[in-house]
């Protein structure tokens, strides 16, 4: 088949390269293998390079939020600042602490980056341009998320340092807790799109984005993915001021750099995921004529989401551990469960009715759930924080704190 290069460059080049290699007489399996290899390499490298730009963007924006200029010395608007940092990091010495478990210790940073990069395999950049259009894409993303946790816990264990270990525990506790509502929220688009394939989910958001049909799920997914990244306000897991920077305390040089890059990349990746799951991915004007435009739309939406994340980081104070826990278990998880179940029921009940009815019903349901949830949470807050405790009454203690503590320590 022939594809004009300006419409769909990726497939164009792919096809061409395919013909070329087969022309050499290589067996088909090997060719496919090679193609995947090249594709993976390109995507990974591109993502990493883009991440460098992101670091600059974020630092600049973060500076503005804090009423600073941000990096402004190296190059125009300090755009080369990240490169300078990279050089510095490259040049630094690798320290491997005494008694460290060498293999896991070195494995951890690699995993940390790899786990994030693996997600990019299923991201549809535009219609038909995805590393692998798995029919279990959503599940795959969750699975890969598990690897990230593995990396963190390895770092915590291997570097033979009790602060690193505690940091690791703290991080894992948080990540595991926030995975639950995240998965539940992720299931809502899957449910609506009747498919776990990323591209199918984007396809399904033809006329209306899921952020309209499932706002609560979008909200939860956004929050939890920020927590998964470990950004403020959930950055208690590596809070420099409270605990000495958590699990990666013993790392230096490029290994630390990889954790750092991993975090940024992860932040970027979750915004891509959010854009795909709830903002209609590559959908936008003229994508049917010129598919490659989809990549641009996706980039724009991602930028908006990422901007939100930075805004959150710049403007929110840090949660205590018990607060993060009670948020995850007492509010987000039940809410996500309720929304998931109600969505399923509603979707089943309205089978066969027009999309408009379906959408309106879903929106209404979300609003009702939101109203009830806010009422309940306010009520429980008032119960646990009496305005002035009447004389002769014991002060009300929040039961959840020691409960969670009991579970986790």
């Amino acid at each position: 088949m022939t594809v004009e290069w300006f419409r769909d460059p990726v497939n164009f080049i792919t096809n061409w390269l395919n013909q070329f290699l087969l022309g050499w007489g290589l067996p088909a399996g090997v060719v496919a293998f090679l193609m995947n290899l090249i594709g993976a390499g390109l995507v990974a490298t591109g993502a990493m390079l883009f991440c460098i730009l992101l670091i600059w963007y974020e630092r600049k924006l973060y500076g503005r939020i804090q009423d600073r200029l941000g990096p402004n010395r190296v190059g125009p608007w300090g755009i080369f600042q990240p490169f300078a940092d990279m050089l510095k990091i490259f040049a630094k010495e690798y320290i491997t602490p005494r008694g460290a478990d060498v293999i896991p210790y070195n494995l951890a940073p690699i995993l940390a980056v790899a786990a994030v990069l693996l997600i990019w395999a299923v991201i549809p950049f535009y219609n038909g341009a995805a590393g692998a259009n798995l029919n279990t894409g959503a599940l795959y993303i969750i699975a890969v998320g598990g690897l990230g946790e593995l990396a963190i816990i390895l770092a915590g264990i291997a570097s033979n340092n009790k602060y690193a270990l505690l940091g690791g525990f703290r991080a894992i506790a948080l990540l595991l807790s926030y995975e639950v509502p995240m998965v539940l929220a992720l299931l809502v688009p899957v449910l609506l799109a009747r498919s776990m394939g990323m591209n199918d989910i984007v396809q399904a958001q033809g006329d209306v984005w899921y952020i309209v049909m499932a706002p609560i799920a979008a909200f939860i997914f956004f929050l939890t993915s920020v927590a998964e990244v470990g950004r403020a306000p959930f950055d208690i897991i590596e809070a420099e001021s409270e605990i000495v920077a958590g699990f990666n305390i013993e790392y230096s040089g490029l290994k630390f750099g990889m954790f750092y890059v991993g975090e940024f990349l992860h932040a970027f990746t979750v915004s891509v995921l959010f854009a795909i799951l709830f903002l209609g991915g590559w959908r936008g004007p003229f994508v049917d004529q010129v598919p490659v435009l989809g990549a641009v739309w996706l980039l724009v939406k991602t930028g908006v989401t990422y901007f939100l994340i930075i805004l959150l980081r710049g403007s929110m104070p840090r949660y205590r551990t018990d607060q993060t826990m009670s948020l995850a278990w007492k509010i987000l998880t039940p809410l996500a469960l309720a929304v998931l179940v109600l969505t399923a029921i509603l979707d089943k009940a309205l089978v066969g009715s027009s999309d408009l009815v379906r959408g309106l019903a879903l929106v209404g349901m979300n609003l009702v759930v939101w109203f009830i949830a806010s009422r309940l949470s306010q009520a429980s807050y008032r119960r646990s924080h009496p305005v002035e405790p009447p004389i002769g009454h014991a002060p009300v203690i929040n039961p959840l704190v020691d409960e969670i503590g009991g579970v986790l320590e």
Binding site: P27, G29, V30, F33, D101, I103, P104, L134, N135, T136, L139, Y140, I142, A143, V144, G145, G146, L147, E149, L150, I153, L154, G156, I157, A158, L165, G168, F169, I172, L176, E179, M196, D402, G406, V407, E409
Partner: protein, 174 residues
């Protein structure tokens, strides 16, 4: 000996090797990491069997949850790890005996099995895709496996509560 077979042989070799390390390595942390590797190998085997869904689920459940839990437990109990000294109890030779016996028995049965010579063909793409919807239907349809499914879910819930209850500190004011 085609491409897939090579992949299979490599994978299974890695898996079994990792399994051996799991049951023999001295440091529990290492054992746990080897376990992760072995589980990965199994996931790849699933992929080779064109059960991609299970490959992913394997990673989610075993590596994402179980392995992490195990490592957690290892860390929590690290004071009690006698990493040096014998990792096996006195009756280990009996264990070897039993394991080998079991393997011999299984191998014997396999070799006498009718379908021993068969080999698995390729599933077409849509056949492979059919798995998830089929299974989803089967798991919740009353004339299939809804009962086992529900029982399993109840079991999970009970296990959850039980685990929390057992593992929590019995502090006086609770």
């Amino acid at each position: 000996m085609n491409f897939l077979q090579v992949v299979f042989i490599l994978t299974s070799a890695v898996t079994l090797g990792a399994a051996v390390m799991v049951v023999t390595s001295h440091r529990m942390i290492r054992a746990a990491l080897w376990l992760v590797l072995a589980l990965f190998g199994v996931a790849i085997l699933f992929a080779l069997l064109q059960a991609g869904f299970f490959a992913v689920v394997q990673v989610v459940v075993y590596i994402g949850a179980i392995a992490i839990l195990v490592i957690f437990a290892v860390m929590l109990t690290r004071h009690a790890m006698q990493d040096e000294g014998a990792q096996v109890n006195r009756g280990w030779w009996a264990a070897v005996l039993v394991a080998l016996g079991t393997f011999a028995g299984l191998a014997f049965l396999l070799l006498n099995w009718a379908g021993i010579g068969s080999s698995l063909g390729e599933l077409s793409a849509d056949e492979a895709r059919k798995l998830i919807p089929q299974m989803g239907q089967a798991l919740v349809s009353a004339d299939a496996y809804v009962l086992p499914f529900e029982v399993a879910s109840v079991l999970l819930l009970a296990a959850l509560i039980g685990a929390i209850y057992i593992a929590r500190e019995k502090n006086p004011q609770v």
